[in-house]
């Protein structure tokens, strides 16, 4: 969405199939993700006339067309004549999430994955999502579930998501512009919605069996769910709230509305970097000190003789005597004073892991609950 605001054309031309379904070859009009680095993944629409510019050089879309997705595109930069490259990736919901600007409020993959699993998402699921927000979670839902009903109360974000879902071929999403807290979840033909109503239908038959509420006040929305959730089966809900006081109010209303198995959890996701630490043995350290000592010994000997001489001879002034400096050590097993690249084959290394310097210590609290509206027997 950020990219689109900048005026880049991100409407793929091959809109018949979703750019998110498996595709093998990079083609004109495709939506692709250019991987520059882990923190720099950019969506582009393949256009034989365009270039993709980075500060390491320009890559022609032409050089991408016809290659397999995942291909590395390499150039030599003219100025510095350096090897420079990008990878052209096919979008997936998770790569799409990584490509979003960091300041965007998004449900991160550890959370979205757990929510989907806990709500048992599959092609047999019909899911309600409110609000749509950046649309990142909508992509993950759309990949997996039968149908997604997504609600966004902010009109600009609604329009943006509407366009984006269309461009991304996410035809199993019904997006509706709505404040669900006041107006509920029912989707009528007269509403601002992307829903395709069947002939003669004036309102959508939702029957959701999974609900995800990412709202500041989910307690206003929970009582309105009964209208739209499936009646004769077990339905799960997940409320996503940053503050603990919200959880408290959410549990209160869930209990009041007959939801059971209420459980709140937190997800903690960590990324680990693989690194190497130099193996510096005690023996090497001692040998290095011995080397220093040997080189100093000469100087010390000389100084000692000098002081002894001073002590014997009353006339000499010890202060003014020359104090020779020992030569620097030559034995340098750890490369002190030089720039050693991590993994340098001249040294021994131990493989270690390091957590990312700043971790996402909290995203939101996830409150799950379940309900069967109608427990009657079918035959």
């Amino acid at each position: 969405m950020e990219e689109m605001e900048k005026g880049t054309n991100t409407s793929p031309m091959n809109s018949s199939i979703s750019p998110f379904s498996y595709r093998d070859t990079i083609q004109e009009g495709d939506l692709a993700l250019v991987w520059v680095s882990r923190d720099n993944i950019k969506p582009i629409i393949i256009d034989a006339k365009q270039m993709f510019n980075t500060r390491y050089g320009s890559f022609s879309h032409k050089s991408m067309i016809g290659k397999q997705y995942g291909s590395q595109i390499a150039i030599r930069t003219k100025g510095q004549n350096r090897f420079s490259f990008i990878h052209v990736m096919q979008p997936s919901p998770e790569l799409w999430t990584l490509s979003l600007p960091h300041r965007t409020q998004i449900v991160y993959t550890p959370d979205s994955s757990y929510i989907m699993q806990r709500l048992n998402c599959s092609p047999c699921s019909t899911v309600i999502e409110a609000g749509t927000g950046s649309g990142s979670f909508s992509h993950a839902f759309a990949r997996t579930v039968g149908h997604l009903y997504s609600y966004e109360f902010h009109s600009v974000r609604y329009e943006q998501a509407l366009q984006e879902f269309k461009n991304h071929g996410l035809s199993n999403i019904t997006l509706t512009h709505r404040d669900v807290c006041s107006d509920g979840f029912t989707v009528k033909k007269s509403d601002p919605t992307s829903h395709l109503f069947p002939e003669g239908a004036s309102q959508a038959t939702i029957n959701a069996n999974a609900v995800f509420l990412d709202l500041p006040a989910p307690w206003d929305a929970v009582p309105l769910l009964d209208e739209v959730i499936a009646k004769n089966q077990k339905v799960g809900v997940c409320c996503f709230s940053p503050c603990i006081e919200q959880v408290d109010k959410t549990i209160e209303v869930l209990e009041k509305c007959g939801w059971t198995e209420i459980q709140m959890v937190e997800i903690q996701g960590k990324q680990w970097e693989s690194r190497r630490q130099m193996v510096r043995t005690l023996d090497d350290a001692l040998e290095r000190l011995r080397d220093v000592k040997r080189r100093k010994q000469e100087g010390i000997e000389r100084r000692k003789q000098m002081y002894d001489a001073v002590l014997k001879d009353d006339e000499t002034d010890g202060e003014n005597s020359e104090r020779p400096q020992p030569p620097k050590t030559k034995f340098n097993p750890f490369g002190k004073g030089t720039r050693v690249r991590e993994g340098d084959a001249n040294y021994q290394w131990k493989q270690v892991t390091r957590v990312e310097p700043e971790i996402k210590s909290h995203t939101s609290f996830l409150t799950f609950a379940f309900k069967i509206v109608d427990k009657s027997k079918v035959c």
Partner: protein, 461 residues
């Protein structure tokens, strides 16, 4: 589409007991299922209700079980069931009901546990024989608990909170109810973990496999190369995500499972409710040896040539049987060739204790560009070794190790806090993308850094 939301005969379901334990049962019509001290019920009585329904077992005291056969003496009497409208499970995950149980409304409670040091069995003055007697009288859990409160001399000295905890504990001990749940992959895992089988499933957690399914970009139409050392649990997770338990699913996805032993171990799939044909269509198994050293198609064809179906049908019984075996072998050999040399996979998913740094680079050769490679290991150190290997291999983009942990809370209003203890472990994931290295572009002028390893080159960017 079949009805996936109601309890059906011949189905495997998982039952949640008042103790918080789980039990997997097959619903054979016209039989009864015993839950031990929690009672027994008729399968037919629960068929047709929505999956997820909680039932109470009750006994009609007017008509005692008419069976006087001495060999059935210790058998749990089969009761009747009724649907419970309110959840009383107070499950071990911390969602205990927060309202004051009505048994406590007439009981004094202390503001603190001040005068109480040792809340042990000595205070509760009912003997276990008395309790057993009550149980024999088929009293309800509630009745038993009320009796116990009356006989508990220290009870009024407990805080309301302690009283509630005590009551819930006791109620769970004597209550006779159960919930019939759909046997999802998550519940299957939970059942295994509670049985103490964590090591059999490589200590994997629900949250870790959840991330695996998403970062592996599992879709209903994908073709996945998989190693599963969890006895089929991982494959079941994949099947559930791809087909949602629906044996009539129109989706075309396939899972190719490689195995290091002569035969694959997917035993846990026996609990799945997919038909055998469905599983055979969507899950293929190939041994690692066949995968890496597949038969030569010409050799296969020189060994056997199928005869026209008409002819085959007319073979005599014994001969027909031998022919069928050979035909099966023939198709199987060609399938191995197909799966191991012609397919390009949409993801590689590995949960194996084979050395990943030797295994993954070879398996990943069969993965399509831009598709994910996801490896699970119980130990981060194994993935550390793997990522260092993959860093130097230009076919892998940005290998990284992730750890995901769920922290459940006691989700009771007024008493919110993370559970005091939880299972450690849960494993780690390595996630990378298969990519296709470009040939080195021609230099405008030869320079040394062109030979830098990938790792270095990536850092430049």
């Amino acid at each position: 589409m079949v009805d996936l939301h109601h309890i059906a005969a011949e189905q495997y379901v998982i039952l949640k007991l008042p103790s918080g334990n789980w039990k997997i049962v097959e619903l054979k019509p016209h039989t009864s299922i015993s839950l031990g001290k929690f009672g027994a019920f008729q399968v037919d009585d629960i068929i047709g209700y929505p999956l997820g329904t909680q039932f109470e077992i009750y006994y009609d005291t007017q008509s005692p079980p008419g069976d006087d056969d001495p060999k059935n003496k210790n058998k749990t009497p089969v009761g009747k069931v009724k649907v419970m409208e309110e959840d009383v499970s107070g499950n071990t995950e911390g969602s205990e009901s927060s309202s004051t149980p009505h048994e406590l409304l007439n009981v004094d409670s202390s503001a603190t546990n001040r005068n109480l040091i040792n809340i042990g069995n000595e205070i509760q003055s009912m003997t276990s024989e008395q309790i057993e007697e009550l149980k024999r009288q088929s009293a309800s859990a509630e009745e038993i608990v009320v009796k116990m409160i009356e006989s508990h001399s220290g009870f009024h000295e407990k805080t309301l909170h302690s009283q509630q905890k005590y009551l819930n504990r006791k109620k769970r001990k004597f209550a006779k109810y159960f919930t019939v749940e759909y046997l999802s992959a998550s519940f299957l895992l939970q059942w295994l973990l509670e049985k103490g089988d964590a090591q059999k499933v490589l200590d994997i957690s629900e949250e870790t496999v959840a991330v695996l399914l998403n970062v592996a970009n599992i879709r209903s139409e994908g073709r996945y190369l998989c190693m599963d050392e969890t006895g089929g649990l991982l494959v079941y997770f994949l099947l559930e995500r791809m087909f949602g338990g629906d044996s009539s699913s129109p989706h075309t996805g396939k899972i190719v499972v490689l195995h290091e032993n002569e035969h694959p171990n997917l035993d846990l799939l026996k609990y799945s409710n997919y038909g055998e044909k469905f599983i055979n269509d969507h899950v293929k198994t190939v041994s690692l040896l066949d995968f890496f050293e597949p038969p030569n198609p010409a050799d296969v064809d020189s060994n056997f040539i199928p005869i026209p179906k008409e002819e085959a049908r007319q073979l005599k019984a014994g001969k027909k049987n031998a022919y069928q075996r050979r035909l099966k072998w023939y198709y199987n050999q060609h399938q191995i060739v197909e799966l191991s040399t012609k397919c390009q996979y949409d993801a590689l998913i590995v949960a194996s204790t084979l050395q990943l740094s030797t295994l993954v680079p070879l398996l990943a050769e069969r993965v399509h560009g831009s598709r994910p490679v996801v490896c699970y290991s119980q130990f981060k150190e194994i993935l550390l070794e793997l990522t260092h290997t993959l860093y130097t291999d230009l076919r892998f983009l940005a290998p990284s190790i992730s750890e995901t942990r769920v922290r459940p809370y006691q989700s009771v209003r007024g008493k919110l806090h993370p559970l005091m203890t939880m299972r450690g472990g849960g494993g780690y994931l390595m996630w990378a993308h298969r990519v296709i290295p470009a040939p080195e572009p021609p230099a405008h002028e030869k320079q040394d850094e062109t030979n830098e390893p990938e790792e270095k080159k990536q850092k430049v960017q």
